[in-house]
């Protein structure tokens, strides 16, 4: 016969203070564990959502980021004439040589200046990136000093609202629209006319060329041809792959830091659970002896104590996850070291993270409860009964 579940429950209830202290220690650990995973996941989601699978990016061969890349006009012309490029219904090729630079803008919150990506594009760029819609206002007119800004830029930087203007490159640029790019890196960018921006920044060359493939399967062929063309020194990447690589170092940093922290933390929480369960077992020596005398087996005792410890873990896990789920409302922004520019993203809670956090919490409970449970199960009936 098994010891009923309510036995474990009631025991926890009797030692409320200790239970709460132990469980809150665990929930702190689970909170940090979940928060780190959510941060890395949010960053990943943002950068994976940026770019499409059937777009390809052509950059200078040794450049890791768009701002390091240089493609001159002759090279761009060769790339633009490739047969794999898709056409829109009007018969225009879906290809856009772009220029990407950084400008300093002061943040609304702190007034601190930080780097914002500004991208010179052609009107066709919007068609090539279906994830971007026009929010408020309209797209810029080609050949004008008008710009459109991503939602995150409009919200975070001084003077970046609709109808306001920014001054850079010895010109004043009017903001005529807001890009609704959702949860993508484009939300943290400013777009303007490519030729106007190149003139303003006295930059005679493009940064890279973006093109939409007629057929996504043509990618390998296109890459081989362009990369082996003696007139070009370029590398070709799928847009999605490119943006994912852009977050690698930041994501790795968050991951390493987070894993080191949580593993150290979890040792503390496991010890706390162990202390609690050892005390619970010690205080109940006579009780356990009685249970054994009544005919409950060693296995029953072991299970009952383990369940108690797992329950503490579960309470801690749920508490930590509950607190962490509020983080989803926080939008954070930081500079991505690789691109040297600002990127905004959310903490993202996924099913995988919920699952991992709960397993982690139960694992802490299990490890913390195992030794005390074994001690309880090994007790000699007679000695235990005599202990009082």
């Amino acid at each position: 016969m098994k010891i009923p579940l309510s036995y474990s429950f009631r025991n926890l209830w009797t030692r409320r203070l200790t239970t709460v202290l132990t469980a809150s220690g665990m929930s702190l650990v689970v909170f940090v564990f979940a928060a780190v995973l959510m941060l890395a996941e949010g960053l990943r989601q943002t950068l994976v959502a940026t770019g499409s699978y059937d777009n390809a990016l052509v950059l200078r061969s040794s450049a890791d980021t768009e701002i390091q890349s240089i493609i001159d006009r002759d090279q761009a012309a060769i790339i633009e004439s490739q047969p794999e490029i898709a056409l829109n219904p009007q018969g225009q090729p879906l290809v856009s040589p772009e220029v990407v630079v950084l400008i300093n803008l002061p943040k609304r919150t702190t007034g601190q200046r930080t780097n914002v990506t500004i991208r010179g594009v052609r009107p066709i760029s919007l068609e090539m990136r279906p994830e971007i819609k026009m929010g408020a206002g309209r797209f810029f007119r080609p050949g004008s000093t008008e710009i459109v800004v991503g939602e995150n830029v409009a919200r975070r930087f001084v003077g970046s609202g609709l109808g306001q203007s920014l001054h850079f490159g010895m010109r004043t640029w009017t903001i005529v629209g807001i890009l609704a790019a959702g949860n993508t890196g484009f939300s943290s960018e400013i777009w303007g006319d490519v030729d106007q921006l190149m003139q303003a920044f006295r930059r005679p060359v493009y940064s890279d060329v973006v093109l939409k493939l007629r057929n996504p399967g043509d990618f390998t062929e296109l890459r081989q041809r362009l990369e082996s063309d003696p007139r070009l020194t370029v590398q070709v990447k799928r847009e999605v792959m490119f943006y994912e690589e852009q977050s690698e170092r930041l994501a790795e940093f968050i991951r390493i830091l987070g894993m080191v922290l949580t593993s150290i933390f979890s040792v503390g929480a496991v010890l706390s659970a162990m202390i609690t369960m050892y005390a619970a077992v010690a205080a109940r020596t006579v009780e356990i002896g009685t249970l054994r005398a009544l005919g409950f087996s060693r296995g029953n005792i072991l299970t009952a104590i383990l369940i108690e410890s797992l329950l503490i873990g579960l309470i801690g896990g749920l508490g930590g996850l509950g607190a962490a789920s509020f983080l989803q409302f926080i939008n954070i922004s930081t500079t991505n070291w690789q691109t040297f520019s600002e990127i905004a993203f959310n903490f993202a809670l996924s099913q995988g993270i919920i699952f991992k956090s709960l397993v982690f919490a139960l694992g802490m409970g299990l490890i913390g409860g195992l030794l005390p449970a074994l001690r309880a199960a090994r007790m000699n009936i007679v000695n235990a009964l005599r202990a009082a």
Partner: protein
């Protein structure tokens, strides 16, 4: 007498004490590591000098400044020396081997940074040779370089794959000086650019200005910026400290979360120790009543419980802090791409000790209050 009882009490539940001390040690260890991470973030700021200003392109750091600005900046009153450097952003063999490389105007640059100590004969050789480079001690140790080695580096920013000859190794004046930088001659880079990409030649990343009087830094900075107002490349001049703080501010969201986490750690420690002390006090309530019967005053009991709590806390704290040295070493090698300076500062040690002391005191409050308040009869009647 009291100390003896405290000592005996600590040893009574040996297993529990060991577990608690270990828990404390682990938490203080992570607290120390977190503070060290934050310190590492501010390393550039700490290492900056009040005598140095940095002038860069006002649009953003990726835009460079014309070499022609040099003589104009030199003429500004209050400026005692000017040098310039360009971020090379190169890859040594593999992308993972990240370290900062600067193309510098060497003659003045080395004078501007007295915290980098280079043996005089190495300096002379370096200044004479076009392809020569100087690297920090840590960097040299990491890659096992020797003087005279040829180091090939491929730039990601410029169409330039350069080969350098290591001619000097610098050491830092202080422990917190960055010993992971790599310097070479700006002229060498510029000659290559004139061949490969003339549009990029004759430009510098930043000017470094030394001022006579740090109190005049703001005036000098304003004068420099005024010189180039409404030109193609407007400048932004700030103190070296502000320049580095700008980098810190870029990632302040991450920094903030690390600081929040370090407070959570204190929460974890508190929970662990408070749990132990609460349990201990509950079990010993009738003992305390006995002690009272023997004539011990409430403040004796407070001393007993507080002493035990603080002793455990300090033991755990000290073990944790001692362990943080080897842990910092491991951390640094795992994250050497991001942090070159990673040492546990004395402030961290003091804060760690004070935190464990505080945790010890706070954990004892509730049990001590309970023990001092319990009446003899009630305490004696109570069964563990």
């Amino acid at each position: 007498m009291v100390f003896k009882i405290i000592y005996r009490n600590i040893l009574r539940h040996r297993l529990r004490t060991i577990l608690t001390i270990t828990g404390m040690a682990v938490a203080i260890l992570s607290f120390g590591l977190l503070r060290t991470v934050v310190d590492a973030w501010y390393a550039g700021v700490e290492g900056s000098s009040a005598y140095r200003l940095v002038t860069r392109n006002a649009v953003s750091l990726i835009f460079r400044l014309p070499l022609a600005y040099l003589s104009k900046i030199r003429a500004v009153p209050g400026v005692s020396a000017v040098s310039y450097s360009t971020w090379f952003g190169g890859i040594y063999i593999d992308e993972k081997n990240f370290f900062p490389q600067f193309a510098v105007e060497a003659r003045h640059y080395l004078d501007l940074y007295p915290e980098f100590i280079i043996p005089e004969e190495q300096k002379l050789v370096f200044l004479k040779e076009r392809q020569a480079a100087i690297a920090g001690r840590q960097l040299v140790e990491k890659y096992g370089w020797r003087l005279g080695d040829i180091i090939p580096i491929k730039s990601t920013h410029y169409p330039a794959n350069l080969e350098f000859v290591l001619r000097g190794i610098y050491t830092g004046v202080e422990k917190s000086t960055d010993e992971g930088r790599f310097f070479f001659h700006w002229d060498y880079l510029n000659e290559t650019l004139e061949k490969n990409a003339p549009a990029l030649a004759n430009q510098v990343g930043v000017y470094i200005i030394q001022v006579d009087d740090p109190n005049q830094a703001a005036v000098v900075a304003a004068q420099v910026d005024e010189l180039f107002k409404n030109s193609l490349a407007e400048t932004l001049t700030e103190t070296e400290k502000a320049f580095h703080l700008g980098f810190v501010a870029m990632t302040e969201a991450i920094l903030m979360s690390i600081q929040v986490v370090s407070f959570l750690v204190i929460g974890v420690i508190l929970v662990v120790l408070a749990n132990t002390m609460a349990m201990t006090a509950r079990e010993r309530l009738n003992e305390y009543a006995t002690l009272k019967t023997l004539g011990f005053q409430p403040w004796h009991l407070v001393g007993l419980i507080g002493g035990e709590s603080i002793a455990i806390a300090l033991a755990g704290g000290m073990i944790g802090l001692v362990l943080s040295f080897p842990a910092a070493q491991i951390f640094r090698s795992a994250l050497s791409q991001y942090f070159r300076i990673f040492h546990v500062s004395s402030v961290t040690l003091i804060v760690g000790l004070l935190t464990s002391l505080g945790v010890g005191v706070v954990s004892a409050i509730f049990p001590a209050w309970q023990a001092a308040r319990v009446s003899i009869a009630e305490g004696l009647r109570r069964i563990g």
